[in-house]
């Protein structure tokens, strides 16, 4: 009669295996190869569940270069072949699972935050979401950059038994993991690709705004004097044109700029009561000019747009200006003119600096 125990309980076979399971996170009852796990003769290794708010990740990038407690995990008898195998296996798990929603490293969902005023939970606003998710991606990309630069040293420090001649193949796993991270991030439905699509929408909305605004300015400066009854339709156009942009894309403007624009619209509204035609024309012209200046300055340094562009340029880039930027490739966002603008306006020097 053969004695059998379940694979999920195999971590009981010895202390070293038990620690391995603990380091990488064991999932006894439901351990399966499909769940970012791998079976060894001594037990099943599984990436733990990620706790994104707490910054604990299943597919932690440290696992790409053997950063776990080797001595207590595999004991003292780990030989060169096994050490290489363990690092390669676990790095492979990270590669396959980096985009996993439960045990990965990427979280593109809206989180619940506590509203400061009402102290009740609510979903992140667009502003909060953009800032948080892009900052996290910048952090991952920076981490990858350091892993790429320091791979040999980090591997030597954490897994000294792994032979040097194995480094190229291990680095290729790191590279594939980075590409998987980028591809997953660029997805327009489940990644953050929709943000860039949304930016393209902003560009087109601004084009529409300028066309409509030019006409409005012409109506103010040329035709309002001839037909004073056009005052209300002109003011309506001025306000509507601006609100169309702000309602849909307001998150790309700084709070200060939004406040300024709102103040200008309020001022335009007040012009409905102005009785002196010349004053009305002069005031509306000034308001229209001011609105146009603020719309044109959307890529200015002090706006979130410029900051987003810098982050996106870094996240999908290589910090090598001589290389074509990935954002512009057909596989990513080459079909969107705004991608070129992001690369042009973005400044990734700060992130690329070590």
């Amino acid at each position: 009669m053969k004695q059998r125990i379940s694979r999920g309980r195999l971590c009981r076979v010895g202390l070293s295996a038990a620690v391995l399971c603990a380091v990488l996170g064991v999932h006894g009852a439901t351990a399966s190869a499909q769940e970012c796990s791998m079976r060894y003769s001594f037990g099943t290794v599984q990436l733990p569940l990620s706790d994104y708010p707490a910054k604990r990740y299943g597919a932690d990038l440290g696992l790409l270069y053997g950063q776990w407690e080797w001595r207590t995990t595999f004991g003292l008898q780990v030989d060169v072949a096994k050490a290489l195998r363990y690092v390669r296996d676990v790095a492979g798990l990270v590669r396959h699972c980096i985009g996993d929603f439960r045990r990965g490293r990427l979280d593109f969902g809206r989180r619940q935050v506590v509203d400061e005023e009402s102290q009740t939970p609510r979903a992140e606003t667009d502003d909060e979401y953009f800032e948080r998710v892009l900052d996290e991606l910048v952090e991952i990309r920076r981490e990858f950059a350091f892993v790429e630069l320091e791979y040999a040293a980090r591997l030597r420090a954490n897994a000294p038994l792994v032979p040097t001649n194995a480094i190229p193949s291990l680095k290729s796993i790191v590279n594939e993991t980075l590409l998987a991270m980028m591809e997953r991030s660029a997805n327009r439905t489940t990644g953050i690709g929709w943000i860039i699509v949304h930016l393209q929408g902003l560009e087109e909305a601004i084009e529409d705004f300028h066309r409509a605004h030019e006409l409005t300015r012409e109506l103010i400066t040329v035709y309002l004097r001839q037909s004073p009854s056009l005052r209300d339709p002109i003011i309506d156009r001025l306000i509507d044109n601006t609100n169309e942009v702000m309602d849909e894309y307001g998150e790309f403007f700084s709070p200060e700029r939004r406040a300024e624009l709102q103040a200008l619209l309020d001022a335009a509204e007040e012009q409905r009561e102005e009785e002196d035609l010349e004053t009305l024309i002069a005031d509306l012209t000034e308001i229209a000019n001011d609105i146009q200046a603020r719309m044109q300055g959307r890529w200015d340094l002090d706006t979130p747009l410029r900051l987003m562009a810098s982050k996106l340029k870094f996240i999908f880039g290589s910090c090598d200006p001589t290389q074509p930027h990935r954002l512009l490739s057909d596989e990513y966002f080459g079909d969107l003119p705004v991608a070129a603008r992001i690369v042009e306006e973005g400044d990734d020097a700060e992130y690329c600096a070590r």
Binding site: H198, Q200, R237, E244
Partner: protein
């Protein structure tokens, strides 16, 4: 960097440290496929091992007939029998004989690419002129390589489990293997000489008929190869029967199980001569197991994209395993799909390119190319998936797979909310653009306004910059990850072209009025798209 253990991980470590290593006798190397571990990949192999063990029975092997020739020495004994018939002085026979296998399969173990059978017990020889003899305490150990072909069902379907292949080693122990098999030839009086065995392996004996005949001792060593070869094939046949039962379940009339085993003695398997050394595929330890489906190492196939129907055991033909009968493989397929369908890798349903793109319809300008799906088309896809995952199934394995896949899928669907909102806003923006254009054209058409104002509006609308911007709108619309049709917008551009070519505003008024009507219709369709996005999303949430 320090890893912070999860609470469950800490609890596990604590209990492990207190428990310590398990006693050696309690260890094993395979998981058990049961309610607690339904996804155990070794379950099939365990079942085969158990079944071959449980179903093992003593088998009688028909050995090749042994030629026997007896010659009477002339002048000895009588010439005639009591009945007066002439006594033949010489005869030749083919002796039928058999060997009965040990009834105890002490162990049968399947390794990664080899299998080992350990037989123990009595061996009995019997047959015509053979003295029935039993040797107890005999042992045969076989090592089998993995075969190159699959075991087949009785209907000839491959079962996805490799045959036992060539024997790579055999060891024997016990008296039988060095002993002789006794043969006794009863004869009438006279002095006889008998010879038994094929050419080159013959034994000869003499005896007198009056004394009982001739006794021969045929060395087992000369029959050893045949015995071991046929016994190995008997093990293979038992293995085939166990595989059939493990894959397909016990047949309704289980007498056929044993019938098939017994059939061995008269029917040699064609696989016998086709065996060849084979090794299991070299599978990377870090292979992504969702990327392929494997029934055993001899059957592994790439999975292009997991589909909801896989959860109820369908679609095995997609991975070239549709010909494997039985429920076990379908259960395993269903379970794997439940873990993999919502993966963020390309085989995941929502991460596959087909979720994002589709072939253009013949009525669409992009035909015969492909285009990105509109958000409503993607959400319709998601809604259909949600419907399929929400169904109930009487098969508990499928039901559990559906439940798990649904849970995992909604984790992904939740992430789509931002893109959904952005798309709805995009269409909302288009509606605003249309409204703005319609407002401008309404001004142009408003005969109550001064002609100079109406002309100025139309001039601006038809400025080269604006026409260029409008012309760029459709590709932008497609490229934005959304497919939308803007035909009326182009009608507006056509009006502008005519205007720039010299037509007067008054001449174009009817066309502009018609264009305005169409623009309103097109705008309404964008409104419908926005509403579809919102309602589909609500329905998807309701099915959670």
């Amino acid at each position: 960097m320090k890893y912070v253990f999860s609470a469950s991980g800490l609890a596990l470590v604590a209990s492990l440290l207190s428990v310590g290593p398990e006693p050696a006798h309690a260890a094993g190397w395979r998981c058990i496929e049961d309610g607690e571990f339904p996804e155990c990949e070794d379950g099939l192999l365990n079942a085969i091992e158990d079944l071959i063990d449980e179903e093992w029975q003593a088998l009688t092997l028909s050995m090749p007939p042994m030629p026997l020739t007896c010659v009477k020495k002339p002048g000895t004994g009588r010439e005639l029998a009591p009945d007066g018939s002439e006594i033949t002085p010489q005869f030749t026979e083919q002796l039928n004989w058999s060997v009965t296998l040990p009834g105890d399969l002490r162990s049968f173990l399947l390794g990664r690419s080899t299998a080992a059978a350990d037989l123990f017990g009595s061996i009995r020889t019997s047959g015509s002129r053979f003295v029935t003899t039993t040797w107890t305490g005999q042992t045969i150990n076989y090592g089998f390589m993995e075969g190159t072909t699959d075991v087949r069902s009785l209907q000839g379907e491959p079962l996805g489990v490799a045959e036992l292949g060539a024997v790579n080693h055999t060891t024997t122990a016990g008296a039988f293997w060095t002993d002789s098999i006794p043969i006794h030839v009863e004869l009438v009086d006279g002095e006889w000489t008998c010879t038994a065995g094929p050419s080159g392996r013959r034994v000869t004996g003499t005896g007198r008929g009056e004394a009982g005949g001739v006794d021969l001792d045929y060395p087992v060593e000369w029959a050893r190869d045949n015995v071991l070869h046929l016994m190995a094939e008997a093990v293979r046949e038992q293995f085939r029967a166990a595989v059939r039962m493990a894959v397909m379940g016990p047949p309704e009339d289980c007498s056929s199980c044993h019938a098939s085993s017994n059939a061995f003695s008269t029917e040699r398997s064609p696989a016998l001569d086709a065996v060849a050394l084979a090794t299991a595929p070299d599978v990377s330890h870090a292979a992504d197991t969702c990327a392929t489906f494997f029934w055993t190492n001899s059957r592994r196939a790439f999975v292009e994209r997991y589909q909801p129907r896989y959860l109820i055991g369908q679609g095995l033909e997609d991975v070239r395993m549709g010909d494997i009968p039985g429920s076990r493989i379908r259960n395993k397929w269903s379970q794997q799909a439940s873990f993999c369908i919502a993966s963020a890798n390309r085989y995941g349903y929502f991460s596959h390119p087909d979720f994002d793109r589709m072939p253009c319809r013949s009525t669409e300008a992009c035909f015969p190319g492909t285009r990105r799906k509109k958000m409503s088309e993607r959400l319709e896809d998601v809604r259909n998936v949600a419907i399929q995952l929400s169904r109930s199934d009487s098969n508990p394995v499928y039901q559990e797979s559906l439940r798990r896949a649904k849970t995992e899928s909604y984790v992904v669907i939740d992430v789509m909310e931002s893109a959904k909102t952005a798309a709805a806003n995009f269409y909302g923006g288009l509606v605003n653009d249309y409204d703005s254009l319609i407002d401008d054209l309404t001004l142009v058409l408003d005969l109550a306004l001064p002609p100079s104002v109406r002309t100025a509006v139309f001039d601006e609308l038809c400025s080269p910059e604006n026409v260029a911007e409008l012309e760029g709108r459709e590709p932008a619309c497609i490229d934005n990850g959304e497919y939308c049709e803007l035909w009326s917008l182009f009608n507006a551009i056509q009006n502008c072209s005519e205007y720039q070519d010299g037509a007067t505003l008054a001449e174009l008024l009817d066309d502009i009025a018609e264009t305005t009507d169409h623009l309103e219709g097109e705008r309404d369709r964008h409104v419908v798209e926005v509403e579809a996005i919102q309602s589909l999303w609500a329905e998807i949430q309701d099915r959670r």
